[in-house]
């Protein structure tokens, strides 16, 4: 296919604005799949994605479209993950495009992710086709959305395409708009090979499969390619496109998007954003924008039962094959025994990995409260990155500590302004921007310490705004901060897995709150359990779980035996899910109680 007949684009949208449904309709409309072959939302391939209704792993499909001008076109529709945790992956996917469909829900208008995604698209100088979706709904207001697009996003919305993906309205018009409003790629085939690697995954049969966009030159089966950032050299075994079923081809030319299989064994030999070039005739300069993705959030994962340690290790190893962006290394907790410290791109990413470990690998997990990475500067000029609060005491001569900060964007109906301001003040946020998008809608920007949002900020925001506010954030910088370690002791024994790093001004309150929450979570045992919260050697809060004194069934005769046994079996199953720390049995929820310190 000649370049001028190719259109490479992504669909970007705030969560639930209808991106996946729209993608499905485009696939159907171009006849790539018959309706009966479609599972709902084809592009979301993993079960988890379908369940959560979000896209986790980017996918791409090649569609053939016969336009009204009678010409045949090839559309490469590149799906992007819909969550802030995966911003870098989104930006790399967008770098493979010449245009985007910016989908906005006609009932909700612009939301925080709409703006974040649009900014990414504009950074790549992409053509933007505004799509106002869900126009079938009675409460839809396309004019309001048009106005917002123009006022806030500086996007010309006069030619916005009105659609209802659900009802199939506006799909034909949208396909035409793609042809006419998104430019064709224009890389030169004669130049040395230069491809963008924008996604990769591990296939049990084929090894690593990478998705590439050929920017310049021609890639042929048999070419020896070099991955410039990762540094490996491989021979191309197979090239093809997803239509959406894989179809092999002999070559991919400038402008093409497709997959490459090249005998790559490990996923970490491929880096998202890397440049693929011809090993014999390499390009002079790699593509810009490549970044090493680093985990932002860390958490300890421990098997509830020590016997599952090996199982967990194998599961992590297998998961890592499929997801190079998370990290793990063995660690030992005095409270929890042997486990792993894992790094994630964000909270959602953490939840996904956790669920997959439990669901696909059958490991019963105990997860410690997620923590961000702190930067410690010692008096002798060393920098130590701290990903586990309990390791703080091993570090000597600390001069000062720095914590990561983010820029958070909130879009909210204005009636919740007061509540949001109170919340952000409590979370040590500094307001940097406040702008009325229209008389009812406000955009707020804050600089916030990441550790203040990593636990429950989003949930709190949703709850105080009845779900109306949207939120997005991006990493800003490390800043000096007055931080202390808050410890929890159970019967005078330090539970390292419950330690937290908190701001000094909030430590006292959080200690009290946490002790109280733990008291609610720890069931009565055959002895008294003292819960203490301490900063250094100073105890700031104490709660007591009184000893269980009486637990005896009054009657057990012939008719009660089976019922009673089953009851005990059930209780035992519940007990098994608890973690024994010293002599104290602690349910998994207690570790998550840390997550809900809402620090008012």
């Amino acid at each position: 296919m000649q370049q001028e007949r190719i259109r490479n684009f992504s669909i970007i949208a705030h969560i639930d604005h209808g991106k996946s449904t729209l993608a499905d309709k485009l696939i159907l409309a171009t006849g790539a799949l018959q309706a009966r072959e479609m599972k709902d939302q084809v592009l979301d391939s993993m079960d988890l994605e379908r369940e959560r209704g979000i896209t986790i792993k980017a996918q791409t499909v090649r569609l053939k479209y016969k336009a009204r001008d009678g010409q045949g076109y090839v559309f490469n529709m590149i799906d992007t993950p819909g969550h802030v945790d995966f911003t870098y992956e989104v930006s790399r996917s967008l770098a493979a495009c010449e245009g985007v469909l910016l989908v906005v829900d006609a009932t909700q208008g612009i939301q925080a992710q709409t703006i974040a995604n649009l900014n990414l698209a504009l950074q790549h100088n992409l053509a933007v086709i505004p799509v106002i979706n869900k126009i079938d709904l009675p409460s839809s207001n396309p004019d309001m959305v048009r106005e917002q697009l123009e006022d806030i996003c500086q996007v010309d919305a006069t030619d916005a395409v009105l659609t209802s993906a659900k009802e199939g309205i506006g799909i034909d018009e949208l396909l035409e708009a793609v042809v006419h409003r998104i430019p064709a790629p224009n890389g030169e085939e004669t130049k040395p090979l230069k491809c963008l690697l924008f996604d990769a995954w591990y296939d049990a049969y084929r090894g690593v499969v990478v998705l590439i966009k050929v920017r310049e030159g021609v890639l042929n089966v048999g070419t020896r390619v070099r991955l410039m950032a990762a540094g490996g050299t491989f021979e191309v075994e197979e090239l093809g496109t997803f239509n959406p079923a894989p179809v092999k081809t002999q070559s991919l030319r400038a402008g093409d998007v497709g997959y490459m299989i090249a005998g790559i064994k490990q996923l970490d030999q491929t880096k998202i954003g890397d440049t693929v070039t011809d090993a014999e005739r390499p390009t002079e300069k790699p593509l810009p924008g490549y970044k090493e993705v680093k985990p932002m959030v860390f958490s300890g994962l421990y098997p509830i039962s020590g016997e599952q340690y090996e199982l967990l290790r194998d599961a992590l190893k297998k998961l890592k094959l499929n997801d190079a962006s998370f990290t793990y290394e063995a660690e030992t907790s005095t409270a929890l025994g042997f486990g792993f410290r894992c790094g994630f791109l964000g909270l959602l990413h953490m939840e996904i990995i956790r669920e997959r470990l439990e669901r696909e690998y059958g490991v019963s997990l105990l997860t410690t409260a997620p923590t961000v990475v702190y930067k410690l500067l010692t008096t002798d000029g060393q920098i130590v990155m701290l990903d586990n609060p309990s390791k703080l005491r091993e570090i000597r001569n600390i001069d000062h500590m720095e914590e990561p900060c983010v820029r958070g964007t909130i879009i909210t109906p204005e009636e919740y302004l007061g509540a949001i301001m109170a919340l952000t003040r409590d979370r040590r946020g500094i307001q940097t921007k406040m702008e009325y998008l229209n008389p009812q809608t406000v955009l707020l920007q804050y600089e916030l310490p990441f550790n203040e949002i990593v636990l429950d900020f989003y949930d709190r925001l949703k709850s105080i705004t009845k779900g109306y506010a949207s939120f997005d954030y991006e990493f800003l910088e490390f800043r000096v901060s007055d931080l202390v370690k808050l410890d929890i002791l159970l019967n005078a024994e330090l539970v390292d897995a419950l330690s937290l790093i908190v701001h000094k001004d909030k430590a006292y309150y959080q200690g009290r709150d946490l002790a109280k929450k733990l008291k609610e979570q720890i069931p009565r045992q055959m002895f008294e359990v003292a819960i203490q919260a301490a900063i250094g050697s100073k105890v700031v809060a104490r709660e007591t779980v009184k000893a269980l004194r009486k637990n005896v069934l009054a009657k057990c005769y012939g008719g009660d035996i089976t019922r009673k046994r089953k009851l005990l079996e059930k209780q035992k199953a519940g007990k098994k899910k608890m973690k024994l720390i010293g002599k104290v049995e602690i349910p998994q929820e207690a570790f998550l109680a840390v997550l809900r310190t809402d620090g008012k």
């Binding site: 005896v552 009054a554 009657k555 057990c556 012939g558 008719g559 035996i561 089976t562 079996e569």
Partner: protein
């Protein structure tokens, strides 16, 4: 393993009490004859398979209220038991009765029929407590019922009492215990009131109209019972049961030893030859099933060896003398030490059990935490 306990359920009651979660149904004169027929027929059914080579060590008629049946029916039932099974010479034959439901003539006929042990549902000696419990009798009627039974020659009486009633105090409980002891019963059961799912009490509690005493008080009342009754010469032989020496309830001991028992009647359970089953609860359904199939089993299961061991521990630990370890090992062909040594060791360290070569038993402290202790032995 040759002897067998025989339980027969009479589901009819004049009135359902607020705390009761037994399988009881209103007296239904039109159905009761058919019910007795079904009971006899079901007995025939099981006797064919289970009477050979077995003796019956105890018979227990419970309910409901067995004395809602005419005494002739109670006679017929016992006669049929004798007919179908080999009763041991000293077979214990118990009938549950409620105060104020029986006359001297009734008692005399029962005695002649061969019932020689009566378990009386007294519950309390305070009229206001009886009212709160929904009982239909008064404290005075307990006195007269016991006196009648004694006069008719019953020398093996058991009284049921309940504690931890809403508003219960140690003084009031001591008073009930004192009046019970004044009857010089051979056997006493003292039950901590528990609110069971599906009862009127549960509904009341959910609505905030019923409050049980706090745990510490419940414990104090329980300890009070143990103290008073053992001081009066009764042996505390099971969590809720006390007896004069030699008067322990044989029928119930068989349950706690996890022995075989045949349960007949609506909702009855049985544990026979490694299999547990349960009959349909509703009397009319029970009758229909027995007519059609000879029995009325609604569900049954065969516990695995592990489950059977757990049941044996769960039941055996209720007895204060504990579980005979040798017998346990013979029964399950396993080493107690290998299977449960670690658990026992840790419980021993916590002072919750006692353990010697002969027996595994709850310690004094373990008694109050029996369920927690038993749970430790579960896999």
């Amino acid at each position: 393993m040759n002897s067998l306990g025989l339980y027969l359920h009479i589901p009819y009651c004049l009135h359902k009490c607020g705390y009761c979660d037994f399988n009881s149904h209103p007296v239904n004169q039109g159905e009761m004859d058919a019910y007795v027929d079904a009971l006899l027929r079901e007995m025939d059914h099981y006797a064919r398979e289970w009477s050979a080579g077995r003796t019956v060590a105890s018979i227990f008629l419970g309910g409901g209220t067995p004395t809602t049946l005419p005494v002739s029916a109670l006679e017929t039932i016992l006669d049929r038991c004798r007919n179908r099974f080999a009763l041991e010479p000293d077979c214990e034959i118990t009938l549950e009765a409620n105060p104020a439901t029986i006359s001297p003539g009734f008692l005399s006929q029962l005695r002649n029929a061969g019932y020689h042990r009566i378990s009386i549902g007294v519950q309390s000696f305070h009229d206001d407590e009886l009212k709160l419990l929904d009982r239909v009798h008064s404290a005075d009627e307990v006195d007269s019922t016991v006196a009648m039974a004694r006069a008719e020659g019953f020398d093996n009486l058991s009284l049921d009492l309940m504690f931890a009633l809403p508003g219960h105090t140690p003084e009031r409980w001591r008073e009930s215990l004192r009046r019970a002891l004044a009857k010089d019963p051979e056997h006493l059961s003292t039950y901590n009131l528990t609110v069971e799912p599906g009862t009127v009490f549960e509904k009341l509690r959910r609505g905030g109209r019923l409050t049980l005493p706090p745990e510490d008080l419940q414990l104090e009342l329980y300890q009070e019972a143990i103290h008073t009754l053992t001081a009066a010469g009764y042996r505390h032989y099971e969590i809720s049961n006390f007896a004069k020496p030699g008067r322990e309830c044989r029928h119930n001991l068989n349950y706690w030893n996890n022995g075989d028992f045949l349960g007949l009647g609506a909702g009855a359970s049985m544990g026979l030859g490694g299999r547990r089953s349960k009959n349909f609860n509703l009397p009319s359904r029970y009758i229909r099933e027995v007519l059609a199939r000879g029995h009325a089993v609604e569900s049954s299961e065969s516990p695995t060896p592990r489950e059977a061991m757990e049941e044996t521990l769960m039941l055996g630990l209720r007895l204060l003398q504990g579980l005979p370890i040798r017998q346990f090992e013979d029964r399950f062909q396993t080493s107690f030490q290998t299977r449960f040594g670690k658990t026992a060791e840790s419980l021993l360290q916590k002072g919750l059990i006692t353990l010697d070569n002969e027996r595994l038993a709850l310690s004094h402290r373990g008694l109050f935490l029996a369920d927690s202790v038993i749970l430790e032995f579960f896999a």
